[in-house]
Symmetry: C2
Subunit: 219 residues, 2 copies
């Protein structure tokens, strides 16, 4: 990117991050911790393959991304954030929170969606309201992509994949699941109005779901 040529911290940040797709690549690496080139392509629908390669090179040169060549039997390349790259988490969180209102109406026609994009709002908005209770696991199925929200002793973790024996199952559109996760819709309202499907232990979910707040995604 052409530099702004300004002795200002915001401009200096944008000199590094301002190129198209750069911050979304950071998003993917923050959400996945370590990803192959193909994983990144899949998490960034719409990116041109040459741009992804070029951005990764630039981010490596800037010291935000590390490239790890796996041992011969595996023969693949893993991309991950350096410490300096992980320091961008507050920036991505601020951007995500500011953009939440644009999610309210549901996806625009043609919008792509990936299940793991919801792991940020799950981490950010859910809180364990009964830290002394037993651990719970909630399986989430969004447009066929599945992940698991686990809660134990006050800590929330989100991981990809299927749960073995979840306490509850949540399934529906991205919009419906997001509305429930951010506290913008009550479970029953989302079921009737947004087609959300819920089964299992109702208490397990209600333990985590926040009360409605300003930053939420309302139906």
């Amino acid at each position: 990117m052409r530099t702004y040529g300004q002795y200002c911290a915001v401009a200096k940040s944008l000199d590094v991050l301002g190129d198209r797709w750069t911050l979304l690549i950071i998003r993917e690496l923050l959400l996945t911790h370590a990803a192959r080139y193909t994983d990144l392509r899949n998490g960034l629908p719409g990116i041109a393959t040459n741009l992804l390669a070029e951005r990764l090179r630039e981010l490596e040169r800037a010291g935000l991304v590390a490239r790890e060549e796996a041992a011969p039997p595996i023969a693949t390349t893993l991309f991950s954030l350096t410490d300096r790259g992980r320091e961008l988490e507050p920036v991505l969180h601020a951007l995500g929170r500011w953009g939440l209102p644009y999610m309210a109406g549901g996806p625009a026609p043609g919008d792509a969606f990936r299940g793991h994009w919801l792991s940020w709002p799950a981490q950010e908005f859910l809180h364990d309201q009964a830290p002394d209770g037993p651990p719970v696991a909630i399986a989430v199925d969004v447009d066929g992509e599945e992940f698991v929200i686990e809660c134990s002793a006050g800590a929330i973790t989100v991981r990809d994949g299927r749960a073995e024996r979840p306490d509850a199952r949540l399934a529906g559109s991205p919009h419906a699941v997001l509305a429930v996760l951010t506290g913008g819709a009550q479970l029953d309202d989302a079921s009737s109005a947004l087609g959300l499907r819920f089964e299992g232990d109702r208490e397990a979910l209600l333990r985590l779901v926040p009360s409605p707040r300003l930053a939420s995604v309302r139906p």
Copy 2:
């Protein structure tokens, strides 16, 4: 800007903010509260005038910027942020904090500088360590641009212009002043190594300057 077409809050934010110069225009409006077109041009050295006009139109359409035509005797246009635009303050703060390390070496050759760009670090890093003390005012002169840091009853305010009877005067390069404001350099070190000039009540400044911390700009 061409939309990313992703149902993700970060991507939706970047659909609005991702164009070149857009976030720097927001920076100017956050720092100046209300600015004329010419003020914005002056605070954004390097921008092409057609781009500034186009960005302002887009930001107005997006509901982030309001254009106010002053009454006939004044005959000028004022641009300011809407409430929604001001909600970007956390985003700009996060970007500024992340970019601080890039300021450590001083300006790159050819870098432009404007005095009011320092008002953010002044607000962010200075704290009144003696809220019960008398009000103080410190005049700052950076490359000929002047502003005033005022402190009263624990609150820090920064404004452009000259102080009538400041308790202290601080003058020097952007790099030197920034290093002192962020706590990266002690006053004496900055004087000897960075050519900082200081006169007046030393206690007035030491009351505000933070102790060295990680996010500071070191010489």
